[in-house]
C-alpha cells in the first residue's frame, strides 16, 4: 500500500456533506510516474476525492501530502501552481476564448507565475496543441469544439499548467472507441514524459489497459486496491458494480 517514493500521500481523508459521508477514512499513496486508476460505481466518491486533492473542495479530516508538503488547506490555484492539474468530467472551456487562449491562461498564471511576462506564450501553447493533435483548431472559439476536441483541450489546458500530477476525470466518457484510443494514447505519451497520472474512468477496458494500479471506491470507502487483474477478480468490486 505505501509507496517508498510517493508523490501524493493521502491519509485518513474524510469528507461529509451534511449528514452524508462522501469519503470515509480514505488512505492511499500514488508513486512518482505512476499510472493510477480510480474506479467505483456512481456516487462512490471518486470525484469528491479528486476535488479534495485539486482543492475544489476542502476535506473535513485527514491529510494530503504532495511532494512532502501538506496541501489540504491550500487554495486550488496554489495547488495548481505546485503541480496538480486536472481535467473536468463535464468539460469547462473558457468559452469566450480561442483554444490557444484557453492554454495561455494557465501558461501565464502557472508556468510563469514568478515573472508574468512570457517570452512567447503563443509558441508554447502551440507546442502543447501540436502534441494533442489540436494545432489546426488553435484559433477556433473553444465553445464551438466537438466533444472529443473539448476533452483534448481540457487535457491540453491541464498540461499548460506544467503539472507533475495530472488528474483525468472521465476524459473519455461519451467518446467512440476510436476516440477513446486516441485520448488513451495521449495519456500514455504524457506519462512517458514523466507525469504521474490519476485516471478516473467508467470505461473498464481503458482503465484496465492504462493503469498499473487501481483503487476501487464504494460509498466513500476503499473496497479494493491493487493490480488491475486483482481488482476485477475481487468479489467486493464485482458486487459493487454488478449488485450481485
Amino acid at each position: 500500500m505505501s509507496q517508498p517514493d510517493a508523490l501524493l500521500k493521502i491519509g485518513s481523508l474524510s469528507k461529509h456533506f451534511g449528514g452524508f459521508t462522501a469519503l470515509d477514512q480514505v488512505s492511499v499513496d500514488v508513486g512518482r510516474g505512476e499510472r493510477f486508476g480510480l474506479i467505483g460505481p456512481n456516487g462512490s466518491g471518486k470525484t469528491t476525492l479528486i476535488n479534495c486533492i485539486s482543492g475544489a473542495l476542502q476535506n473535513d479530516q485527514g491529510s494530503i501530502l504532495f511532494d512532502g508538503a501538506e496541501i489540504s488547506r491550500m487554495p486550488a490555484y496554489k495547488r495548481t501552481r505546485l503541480g496538480i492539474a486536472r481535467s473536468f468530467q463535464i468539460p469547462r472551456p473558457f468559452g469566450s476564448m480561442s483554444v490557444l487562449e484557453n492554454l495561455i491562461v494557465p501558461l501565464e498564471y502557472v508556468a510563469h507565475s514568478g515573472s508574468l511576462h512570457l517570452s512567447d506564450p503563443r509558441g508554447e501553447a502551440m507546442e502543447i496543441l501540436k502534441g494533442m493533435g489540436l494545432a489546426d483548431k488553435a484559433d477556433t472559439l473553444s465553445s464551438s469544439l466537438s466533444q472529443v476536441e473539448l476533452r483534448k483541450m481540457e487535457l491540453a489546458r491541464a498540461m499548460a499548467a506544467r503539472p507533475r500530477l495530472l488528474i483525468s476525470d472521465e476524459a473519455m466518457a461519451g467518446l467512440s472507441s476510436n476516440e477513446v484510443s486516441e485520448v488513451l494514447e495521449i495519456l500514455f505519451k504524457l506519462n512517458a514524459s514523466g507525469i504521474t497520472i490519476i485516471m478516473i474512468e467508467h470505461i473498464m477496458q481503458a482503465v484496465m489497459k492504462f493503469s498499473q494500479r487501481i483503487l476501487c471506491l464504494d460509498a466513500g470507502r476503499i473496497i479494493c486496491e491493487g493490480s488491475p487483474e486483482k481488482v476485477v477478480a475481487n468479489p467486493d468490486v464485482q458486487r459493487a458494480y454488478l449488485g450481485a
Binding site: 490555484y77 486536472r86 469566450s96 480561442s98 491562461v105 502557472v110 499548460a160
Partner: protein, 313 residues
C-alpha cells in the same frame, strides 16, 4: 502610444474648451456624459470583464459624493483631495462587495448589491451632518482655479481627467494578464482556479478598482449641483445606466462602455431637453431590451460581425 496621445489631446481640448465654447449648457450636459463614461467603464471592469453584475452603482457613486461632502464641510478639503477621498471610501466598499463574491454568484450577488444600496441610503438619510433626507446646499469655493471664470467649466475638465484615467485603467486591465484572468473567471470560475488563476484576489482587485472609480465619479457631484440629497445621489438611474451603457456598447472591450455612454448619455440629454426628463428613462429601457435581444454583444459585436466579418471576440 496612440492611446496616450489621444488621451492627452482630449484633456487638452477640455482644458481649452472655454476659449471657443461659450454655451454654459455644453459643460453642464458634457459633465453628465463624462460622468457616465466613468461609471460605465468602472461597472464593466467587474460586470463585463469578470461577469459579476453589480446593481449597486448608485451606492458607490453616493459614497463617493457623500465622502467628499462630509470632508468639504468639515475641513474645506480641496476638490482633488475630495475626489481621492471619495475614491478611497468607495474602493473600500468595493473591496467588501468583492468579499461577497466568495459566497454569492449570479443573480444572488446582484441582489446583494441592491440591498447594500438600500442600507447605505437609509444610513445617509439619518446622517444629519450631511443634511439627512432633506439634503444639504453646497457653497462652491469663491476663488476660481487657474484661468477659469466658471466653476462648471472647471468641473468639466476635472471629470474629463477622471474619465481618461478610468478608461486607461480599464484598457490596461483588459489587454493584460489580469484581463485574461478575469475573462477566465467569467467563463468558468472553477476551471480558472484550477488553471492557477487566484480568483478571489482578482475579483477583490476588480471590485475595489471598479468601486473606487465610481466613487471618483461621484465625488464632484455635490459641487456640480451645489446641492446634495440622498434620493438623487443613490438614484437607481445610475445603476441602470452603468449597466445599460456597457451592454449596449459591448462588454468585451474597454471602448464598449465609452461608446455606450456617449451614445446613451447624449440621447438622454437631448430627450430631457426636447421631450421630458421622464422620457429619457424610457429610452434607456427600450434600447437595453432591443440590444439584449437583438445584439447581445453590443455595438462592438455588430461591428465585429458586419464590418470586420469575424465572430471571435
Amino acid at each position: 502610444m496612440k492611446f496616450l496621445f489621444g488621451a492627452l489631446a482630449l484633456i487638452g481640448l477640455a482644458a481649452a474648451a472655454p476659449l471657443f465654447v461659450r454655451l454654459e449648457y455644453f459643460y453642464f450636459a458634457g459633465f453628465v456624459v463624462l460622468q457616465f463614461i466613468v461609471l460605465a467603464t468602472a461597472w464593466n471592469i467587474l460586470g463585463g470583464f469578470a461577469g459579476y453584475v453589480n446593481f449597486g452603482t448608485g451606492a458607490f457613486f453616493a459614497v463617493g459624493a457623500y465622502s467628499a461632502v462630509a470632508l468639504y464641510k468639515a475641513v474645506q478639503l480641496p476638490l482633488g483631495l475630495q475626489i481621492l477621498a471619495g475614491a478611497a471610501t468607495a474602493g473600500l466598499l468595493g473591496f467588501l462587495v468583492g468579499l461577497l463574491t466568495l459566497r454569492l454568484r449570479g443573480i444572488f450577488f446582484s441582489i446583494a448589491t441592491i440591498a447594500i444600496t438600500i442600507i447605505l441610503e437609509t444610513v445617509v438619510m439619518n446622517w444629519h451632518y450631511v443634511g439627512g433626507a432633506k439634503g444639504l446646499p453646497i457653497l462652491r469655493p469663491t476663488e476660481m482655479p487657474l484661468y477659469f471664470t466658471n466653476y462648471t467649466q472647471w468641473l468639466f475638465l476635472v471629470m474629463t481627467v477622471i474619465a481618461v484615467l478610468a478608461v486607461a485603467t480599464a484598457r490596461y486591465i483588459q489587454t493584460g494578464w489580469i484581463g485574461r484572468g478575469l475573462r477566465a473567471i467569467r467563463d468558468n470560475e472553477g476551471a480558472a482556479e484550477c488553471s492557477g488563476v487566484p480568483t478571489l484576489k482578482l475579483k477583490l482587485a476588480a471590485a475595489t478598482i471598479s468601486g473606487a472609480l465610481m466613487g471618483a465619479a461621484g465625488a464632484p457631484f455635490a459641487q456640480y449641483l451645489s446641492f446634495i440629497e440622498p434620493s438623487s445621489a443613490f438614484s437607481l438611474n445610475y445603476a441602470v445606466n452603468a449597466l445599460a451603457m456597457p451592454i449596449i456598447g459591448g462588454t468585451a472591450h474597454w471602448i464598449g462602455p465609452v461608446i455606450g455612454a456617449i451614445l446613451l448619455g447624449t440621447v438622454q440629454q437631448v430627450v430631457t431637453v426636447t421631450i421630458s426628463s421622464e422620457m429619457n428613462v424610457l429610452v434607456v429601457g427600450v434600447m437595453l431590451v432591443v440590444f439584449v435581444v437583438g445584439a447581445p454583444e453590443g455595438i462592438l459585436g455588430l461591428w465585429n460581425r458586419y464590418v470586420l466579418k469575424k465572430s471571435v471576440p
